[in-house]
Subunit: 659 residues, 2 copies
């Protein structure tokens, strides 16, 4: 060992080679291990598992008896069986408090969001009764509070109104809303069942922040109708028609409505601000909407506000959810629209529900299985569509209140549902005089939280391209339409990824003096290139989209490299060392890169040397007849250091006898 080192010359590049602490023969040094043989079926199995079961949900079943497998399976499908038996009065005390708190939020929000979707207010309450009960049985999150949400309500309404007017044809509109909910549920449950949950990952953070901010603006603008008391309002959603409608209808503005709206909006925003500053005072913002509804209803009732131009909800039907499976329409001209609406709302509500579930699971350190949650949310919506509910999911604001109020299990959802049930059965007449302006104020307060400027600034700081995605989502939603804005942003995000794949990163590596480490010369100023060698790293999978580029780029690197040292003779590079450590996969088009490159380099008098082709790459190169000779002795090394060391002697022999 010491012998090797003592014969070293200080500037000899080969001396730094990794394995030189151990005496090795050149043949040993070049040994790149073969990946263990696996059949196509095995590989397919691994790949399918990685794609669809990355979280390996069945691991817990391994090594269990038949009976306990049954119990585990039942617990897997119905998480209530898991925590139910251990449920205690102590837990119930926490759950009843949090359940009542979220109910006080759920009732005004339910009515408001239903109006956002142009549905009768009572549908919002129906949707806060059945779905939470279903989720309590099927869901695995302990913090999620279920109900209608603003984004899905907005999108459902704006898409359905394209074809059907809720005021002219309310029954058809309601049918389409329930059918959309049904399709949304079927899609959600299928995504979960088919383990395709990763589809929601295609909504990047930047897309979501831009989209939500845009949606918040659009929703708030829509509320100007209620806030100003305008009766003839545009049906369009985007900025320009809404603003022009507001100012064209200034004769319809009602000062009584505006005064009431401004007061309650200030109160609600203040309550929100206080709770944000002091999370312990969560009950202020949680209770404010209900307080506003009660107070405003009393005011209107006392002063006969409806006679002074303040519009009120009006008479509401009493009673629990009527069945609605006979209202599902699977035929007719609107089927396409209904499926599309179901699809978009399904993805959006899943995104919110799963993100909320994961956030609180991380806070309390338990796991949420995304795909299983999708099935729970999907089944909840399917059942909902048959019981007069529209699209529901885990709502962010409501879940945050639930968490802060100390919810321990899904029982808080049951408490909320029971409270809503009592309201539906006995308290509906009380809402008759609730003014619409208060609902508008509640909606605005809820959506203002969707505008996340610090997060947007953070994205601007980190990645300018992501910020462009954010802006395109935002402006797309504000100026074109909610669904098109979303589509544009997703399209740009995917295009960016494809572009990244098409133009993978390639780096020139240099030796860090005194070590055996090779690093990017652009990044490490001290990294030096070794005369006669060009060390070149590819840091991406090689496939059909980038094979041509990689070949052209490699040849250009060589030319640039030789031009840099214009003093030296043109043939200064003798070896191109290709570090393949970063190439995680390759396809058949990619395999031809090496053959083509070898040929092109030979014409230039340069030898191609490969370093560290990993697993799949090694395997495929060997299976290809054309590339196999590249794996011959002297052209394949385990590390760059070994390659440089092994080839330096060849180079020296060459340079001593000038050609």
């Amino acid at each position: 060992m010491n012998m090797t080192l003592s014969t070293m010359e200080p500037d000899d590049v080969s001396s730094g080679t990794n394995s030189h602490c151990v005496e090795i023969t050149p043949v040993e040094a070049q040994k790149v291990a073969q990946p263990p043989h696996r059949s196509t079926l095995q590989k397919l199995k691994t790949r399918l598992k990685e794609t669809f079961f990355p979280d390996d949900p069945f691991r817990q079943f391994k090594g269990q008896t038949f009976n306990s497998k049954w119990i585990l399976a039942a617990q897997y499908i119905f998480p209530i069986l898991q925590w139910g038996p251990n449920y205690s009065f102590r837990l119930f005390k926490s759950d009843i408090i949090s359940g009542l708190t979220i109910a006080s939020l759920a009732i005004p929000q339910g009515i408001s969001y239903a109006k956002l979707a142009s549905l009768p207010p009572i549908v919002g309450l129906y949707s806060s009764f059945v779905p939470p009960l279903v989720y309590a049985v099927l869901g695995s999150s302990r913090d999620l509070a279920v109900g209608p949400v603003s984004i899905a309500s907005l999108v459902l309404g704006s898409m359905l109104r394209q074809e059907v007017s809720p005021s002219h044809d309310p029954v058809l509109y309601l049918q389409l809303a329930f059918t959309s909910t049904f399709f949304a549920g079927v899609l959600q449950a299928s995504l979960g069942l088919l383990r395709l949950g990763f589809i929601i990952d295609f909504l990047s953070k930047a897309t979501l922040i831009g989209f939500m901010a845009g949606a918040a603006i659009i929703v708030s603008l829509q509320q100007l109708k209620g806030l100003l008391g305008i009766t003839h309002f545009t049906k369009q959603m985007s900025l320009v028609p809404v603003v022009s409608s507001v100012f064209h209808r200034s004769d319809e503005w009602s000062w009584q409505t505006i005064l009431m709206g401004v007061c309650f909006l200030t109160f609600l925003l203040l309550a929100r601000y206080i709770s944000m500053r002091k999370p312990k005072l969560y009950w202020i913002s949680a209770g404010a909407p209900l307080a506003s509804v009660i107070l405003s209803t009393i005011l209107v009732f006392a002063f006969k506000g409806q006679r002074h131009g303040i519009s009120i909800i009006g008479k509401l039907q009493e009673g629990l959810n009527p069945p609605s499976w006979n209202m599902l329409r699977f035929h007719g001209t609107h089927l396409g629209l209904v499926i599309k609406t179901g699809f978009v709302t399904a993805i959006l509500s899943l995104t919110e529900g799963i993100a909320v579930g994961r956030t609180f699971a991380a806070l309390r350190n338990y796991q949420v299985d995304g795909n299983k949650e999708m099935m729970a949310i999907g089944i909840m919506n399917i059942i909902g569509s048959a019981t007069s509910c529209y699209v529901t999911t885990g709502a962010f604001s409501r879940s945050a209140v639930n968490h802060n109020a100390g919810a321990k299990t899904a029982v808080s959802n049951i408490v909320m549902a029971v409270t809503v049930m009592v309201t539906l059965l006995f308290l509906m007449p009380l809402f008759q005089y609730t003014p619409n302006v208060v609902l508008a104020a509640i909606i605005i307060t809820a959506v203002v939280g969707l505008i996340d400027i610090p997060a947007a600034y953070n994205i601007w700081k980190i990645d300018k391209f992501d910020f462009i995605v954010l802006l395109s989502a935002f402006f797309g939603v504000v100026f074109i339409s909610v669904q098109e804005g979303l589509a544009i942003a997703i399209g740009i995000s995917i295009f960016k990824i494809l572009l990244q794949v098409t133009r993978p990163k390639t780096v020139i590596l240099g030796n860090i003096p005194g070590t055996d480490i090779y690093r990017n010369v652009d990044h490490y100023k001290e990294a030096l290139s070794i005369p006669g060698f060009l060390v070149f790293g590819i840091e991406a999978p090689i496939n059909f989209t980038n094979t041509t580029y990689l070949k052209e780029r490699t040849l250009r690197w060589i030319e640039e490299f030789q031009e840099d040292k214009v003093g030296k003779k043109k043939s200064s590079i003798k070896f191109l060392i290709l570090d393949l450590s970063g190439v995680s996969s390759i396809d058949t088009t990619g395999v031809s890169l090496f053959k083509d490159l070898k040929k092109a380099l030979e014409n230039r008098g340069i030898q191609l040397v490969l370093v560290n082709p990993v697993g799949e790459l090694m395997e495929k190169l060997q299976r290809s007849e054309e590339a196999r000779d590249l794996m011959a002795h002297g052209t394949l090394y385990l590390t760059i250091g070994e390659a440089v060391a092994g080839l330096s002697s060849t180079l020296k022999a060459q340079s001593s006898s000038p050609v």
Copy 2:
């Protein structure tokens, strides 16, 4: 230096650390260099250059005087100015021989391919006259022989026939064909001008092989009409209707036609076989089509074949290409179809033209600029559409003959064009008695070469997934339709890439004993994991599509790793070392991975350690407030070896005082 080594214990992991040949303090070892600061604009410039100018076509202009820049620019646009001044009689001798050879192939192929596109035969000859002249001026390949090709002809015909019948409305059909050609040209030229040439890279080798084989089958089946002498033939393209049509019309089979067809087909295939075995005899397969046409025409004329049920071409118009710009239709009901047809044929013909150009450029060791070639082919088609030509490109069979016949420059294209011109002016009446069955035989012989079974077998051997893509292209074309088969195959290919991005490879690394090298433990059996550490490598860009997966997968690796060693206590892992060398880029969603992971690991009592974050990654982590504390002292190392060495001491101190 020797001191360090002499104090080493043989089994001490830290002893193998890379930089230990040089004495270094721990602080030095942990130094990961900052990437040099570059402004957003600089980065954008680099990215745009890599995306659109990877071949750096303007490099030659650097450091030139103003005048020579002008000359270089003119030579860049019109390559004829580059080789023209040096053109010699010796080169011309070679070019005239190859030009005449390809003309003898171009004339029968032109007529045949025009029939394949359901166009009048003479349009095929027109298309072999003007486009070669344009290409001779603009093109940079010396071997490309230009003219109509089978695939583009097939697709053009099959797409246009969807809406317009060439027999019922021949003028409209012709107008649509020219307009499609115009759009194809505009698209091709724009792709070149906008440097978007990489779009054709999205047609992978597997897709192309499957598609071409399928198209060859479809084309050959269509020729059964001519080969069997059937007059009432289906207009559909896919396998089932064609075969059923052949057998339902067995009463129309003409034995004279069949006999003639079989004879000439045998002759042509034999000629092709001979030339393939002995490339020097290229002239046999090059001359065979013309010989067949002449021989069969004489036979029909002598025996009055047309009276015995042998269908003939019939009277052809004499004269050069009439102008056709007045036939371009930019309005009306068929505009969508025409644009779509133009788009598909543009991409297909570009793919063939560029691939042929690159193949022969590589053989003769000169460079072809893909984007410039696209502009040349595009302008050729725009001019063609105004002079009664349909889509043309560099044809593979014809270029191979051109190359084998010794073509030196694009002058061989001019010679071919002049020969075709002479034919158009004086020899057209001679083709009156040419039987259609011979054209069918010529087409079949040409397309048989598109079925590349060895290449398909090679793909099967190397990559099973690519083979699935190949099969789906093949069966899609054969059983559904030409364009849908192509679309399906491209869709699957892109889906595969997205899936790869969504599910990037992660590997557990182990130390190769006696060295400082860390390698995949699945791949290198001798690689050992180090107690207390889990060394984990991510080999892909981290972005919004895979952040969730990577987090879940990492946590699963930890659980699996701890379960393997079930004998040891649960807390056997103290450090998770994340090797980020393979992470070439990251986006804002990806940045949150590290923060989330750190939190999740802390709950498990594991410390997260990062190794070698490169350029962009390092930069973005530092710009993100949340992730910045990850870069603190003791959690960031340059190599895995250094990290293990640095942390082992911490671990030993911990384990000596059991918790």
